[in-house]
Symmetry: C2
């Protein structure tokens, strides 16, 4: 690897988990696509000393340091000034930039109907127009400009690329950031870096470990990482092009040992299912109880979902299961609302009521309440009904309410995959 970058994500709201960071992972992947390696992402709160420590840590071993966030108008937004100080370049007001930001804020205030006192608006704008001496300004996508701040003359160290926190602004500014001369120079040594993924369904990590140990001496040049999550075992491999043969040997070994559970050489199960539905021109509908809308929301996440997903009914109440999805009252009484028969009836009801080719039915106990000795928390029943047949699956899942709901969603998508594509059972 001939070029590397370190990322600082700022914001106490990220550090404490009130906001999930989307920028670190996005940047790591965008840099990987440029052949730039990212070894670590440091998340810091809004304290200057923590930001300075993170900058020093990452500047020591990288060709470029990138910061995200902390460019707003409030006093806790201190990234630009701190980066300037760190690089030995005190900040100055850029009067032309100030005017451009003022124009953006005025347009935004008009659209939003804000009635900010001119004085306080001006103070915020002036703060956002402070630029470290000698820095390159990246035009704002929102109200905050980005910056490329080289180290002061006579000192050594990588440039720091300062990007705004809102993902839409950061991503909108990225092409200009990559094109900026100091960034191009810093990343000049980047070489092609490939990343490939294999996905197995329900293979224990220890079995894969045995395979990897067996072929270990044939995998020189590969950086292999594995991750088990919700029953899916992902094998992600990064390598430079000259290790292409080694990657072929890895694929051959995994295919030989796990032909029955290897379900993807790249796409996610959601992507495979969407493609398979589109290829057949099939539509799908959902009747779900335990997951409360989550399965439908997951199926409608990708762009273009409306051509393959007709909709779903989240039916907590038994009356809703009966009246909106035609679940027979006797079925609800016989085995209770959490039973394989109800999952099947939910799938059939959704299929008929929406007029879809495939119906998915989900019921279960997400917890933390509602469990019984016969049907403990984590009990789930799923069914998928298509034009040519049906599949059912039951399980008892571990984890808290959010984990049980999320895992049930993964099970539902895998059961749908099995109906559409065959392959390893859900």
């Amino acid at each position: 690897m001939a070029a590397s970058a370190g990322i600082v994500v700022t914001g106490t709201e990220v550090l404490t988990g009130r906001v999930a960071d989307r920028n670190g992972p996005w940047l790591a992947e965008a840099l990987r696509a440029q052949g730039v390696d990212v070894g670590s992402v440091v998340v810091v709160g809004d304290r200057p000393e923590d930001l300075r420590a993170a900058l020093a840590f990452l500047a020591a071993g990288n060709d470029l340091v990138i910061t995200t966030g902390g460019l707003g108008p409030t006093a806790d937004d201190l990234t630009a000034a701190e980066v300037g100080a760190f690089q030995g370049r005190p900040s100055e007001l850029d009067a032309e930039l100030e005017q451009r930001i003022a124009a953006v804020v005025a347009a935004l205030s008009a659209r939003r109907g804000w009635d900010t006192e001119p004085e306080s608006a001006a103070a915020g704008i002036a703060k956002q127009a402070l630029v470290p001496a000698g820095a390159t300004v990246l035009e704002p996508v929102g109200t905050a400009p980005g910056l490329v701040v080289p180290v002061a003359d006579g000192r050594s160290g990588p440039p720091v690329l300062v990007l705004p926190g809102p993902p839409v602004e950061l991503q909108g500014m990225w092409p200009a950031a990559l094109a900026a001369e100091p960034v191009r120079r810093a990343l000049a040594g980047a070489t092609e870096l490939r990343q490939r993924t294999l996905r197995l369904w329900r293979t224990p990590e220890s079995e894969l470990a045995a395979t990897l140990r067996r072929v270990d001496d044939q995998l020189t040049g590969l950086e292999v990482t594995t991750c088990l999550r919700d029953g899916e075992l992902e094998i992600v491999t990064r390598y430079e092009p000259d290790a292409d043969d080694a990657y072929g040997r890895l694929v051959a070994a995994v295919t030989a040992d796990f032909a029955g559970t290897l379900f993807s050489d790249g796409p996610t199960v959601d992507e495979l299912v969407a493609r398979a539905l589109d290829e057949r021109g099939w539509t799908v509908a959902v009747g779900e109880s335990e997951t409360g809308g989550l399965v439908t929301a997951r199926l409608t996440e990708p762009a273009g979902a409306s051509r393959r997903v007709l909709g779903g009914v989240a039916a907590y109440a038994n009356s809703a299961k009966e009246q909106l999805l035609d679940v027979p009252p006797a079925t609800l009484v016989d085995g209770g609302a959490v039973s394989p028969a109800v999952a099947r009836a939910l799938a059939e009801g959704a299929r008929v009521r929406f007029g879809a080719d495939v119906g998915i039915g989900v019921t279960g106990v997400a917890g933390p309440g509602g469990g019984t000795p016969e049907k403990p928390v984590g009990t789930v029943h799923l069914a998928v009904v298509g034009p040519d047949g049906a599949l059912a699956y039951s399980d008892r899942l571990r984890g808290d309410r959010a984990a049980v709901r999320g895992r049930t969603g993964t099970l539902a998508v895998h059961l749908l995959r099995q109906l559409l594509l065959g392959g390893p059972p859900a």
Copy 2:
């Protein structure tokens, strides 16, 4: 602040965003509750040199370093051995621990129907039973034990607490970790640290900045951070108990300046809405198009949701809007499926069909396709209908498909809050 900790989150899958980290934020909050300050979280991939660099960075300025993840049976799980080496304590096989892990794996394999070769299972178990000399073992919650690894005799530095990656295992092990003698000693200086939150709806950050500047000299001892997200402006303040009066002055200033938009002194809008529904004994149902199940899924996230949420219909297809939610065909023709009238009809249909006290209706264009000059991507219409009246709201949102869907969900919950509690309009 008299005790501080640094957190290392390991795993290439986290670094590259394939898995969202839940452990860093959870630990930061759990430590805060103990009065322990966390200045930064470092996310590293599965490369030993990156882990070592992160350990060195955090050991320099903290009383305790915590690692999460990298304790599995595969070769890329290297945390325990690397931490041992970093602390000057080479790892040795703990034969009794190996037997206990073997028993757990055997039980798990039986339950899951795994058919792992004994040899490869044994290799994985032996790897997980390697313990740095002199470390304290925390009993496994899953298959991986945790560790507390003090620095080698004669060297100085904080102990490293090694925790497993799966959140259910990490959280299950936390009480034992806090009780371990080396951890207690490291955190002995912890003092009480309060955290309070104020939430404003649709206040521009620049207005709040003006208020904070005005009272700045009265806020000594407070660490104030603000965060604007989806129209909500959060003010999170941390302080030691002797700054309680200063916090009172901050609350007074914000209340005086923003009485019309301050909607919470702590709880999230989702919590406020759940409480208000429970207090009245009201139920709610959702008819949603653009958000595809997301609004229902969000309302059913909290434990106990089934007593207040009867369900929802995600109706992408117009036929589903008509047949499941009684949206009049003429309404769909007149203004199109994305219109205030359809939002209102979806809300009324959901209310009637589920027999709920309150109905929520949502329609819009999430994008990236489907926009027109009259109804561009981001156009959303919402309605809430209750026993005593109805509210409507329309907007044009920025951002990509995921952002538009997510923000629409926030708008829906705020519109519901307004119906239930009055206060600032959505």
